[in-house]
Symmetry: C2
Subunit: 154 residues, 2 copies
DNA sequence: ATCGATGCAAAAGTTTTGCATATAC
DNA sequence: GTATATGCAAAACTTTTGCATCGAT
């Protein structure tokens, strides 16, 4: 699941185009948020992203509000997607990679990704059967990962 | 998806037994929370439940904290299950009905339920393949329901 | 009588908003 | 120069916690 379909340059161009066509401005803050999400494979809370930027770019001034505002923007544009964690908010990941679903470990919080053709097809069928215009689907398998099973004995 | 497998009496007995065996007390508040969730088919936020109880039982004193505490208890006991809504917290539903997944309408928020054997089987396979001990799975198909499609033209 | 449960209010988180200032265009 | 974006702090929510009191056993 490591393979990015698009290079960062391509993604950035797409983002710039998007901004332009909506009369929005291209700012360093917006770029950094996208870059952090593209480059660091993984799933991040808004605060994670805020901290990563503060750490990696100590000279840039940025506020948590900008992170939230930009994530909303990026998610609307499908450049990032989010996965929910109950009341604890969302984690975001890059949205233009290969589609996949998630295995979430209850013990250590680790997230594995998978892709399954059968599931994908079946979802289409179900949406059709219910006259639903599907725009997205979320599938999480929740449990205990291999690592944590061996640590605590089973 | 309307069929409850257990009568309310059976559910309540199970709850009482559970409480007893954990040295917890049977209170009116706890019963009402379970009853509201059992009787009103649907998906409720803690606040929904709080308001329903205030409305239906004006004489009972109850605080929102009790709702949260009891929902945690009920969820641990599998008497209710929850479904997440991004940062907006969780909705709870009765947990001993037939297992099912959800179709969520982005426009009106309606939740439809479905059960699909192929998906269920495939999830088992995927968990096994990843050495995951699956305790739960969440599948949501997000989109626009039939009703809302016709209202806004497609 | 004991010990857990409750309501309330305060606290802790998380996310959003208002506004003056800064910055892209 | 104008309009949008930003940081900051305050506000709005949601959820949790501490504590005195209540109530089930």
């Amino acid at each position: 699941m490591e393979t990015q379909i698009l290079t960062y340059r391509e993604v950035l161009d797409r983002f710039k185009k998007l901004l332009k066509s909506n009369n929005l401005k291209y700012t360093k803050q917006r770029e950094l948020i996208l870059e952090i999400i593209y480059n660091n494979q993984g799933h991040f809370t808004p605060e994670d992203i805020y901290n990563l930027i503060k750490q990696s770019y100590p000279d840039i001034r940025i506020g948590i509000a900008t992170i939230y505002r930009t994530l909303t923007l990026l998610e609307d544009a499908n450049l990032v997607t989010s996965i929910s964690f109950g009341a604890k908010g969302k984690k975001y990941e890059f949205g233009l990679g290969k589609h996949h679903d998630h295995l979430v470990c209850l013990v250590c919080g680790a997230i594995e990704e998978f892709y399954d053709e059968t599931i994908e097809n079946q979802q289409e069928l179900i949406a059709k059967k219910h006259n639903f215009k599907m725009t997205n689907h979320i599938m999480k398998i929740v449990g205990v990962c291999k690592n944590c099973q061996s640590k605590q004995g089973s």
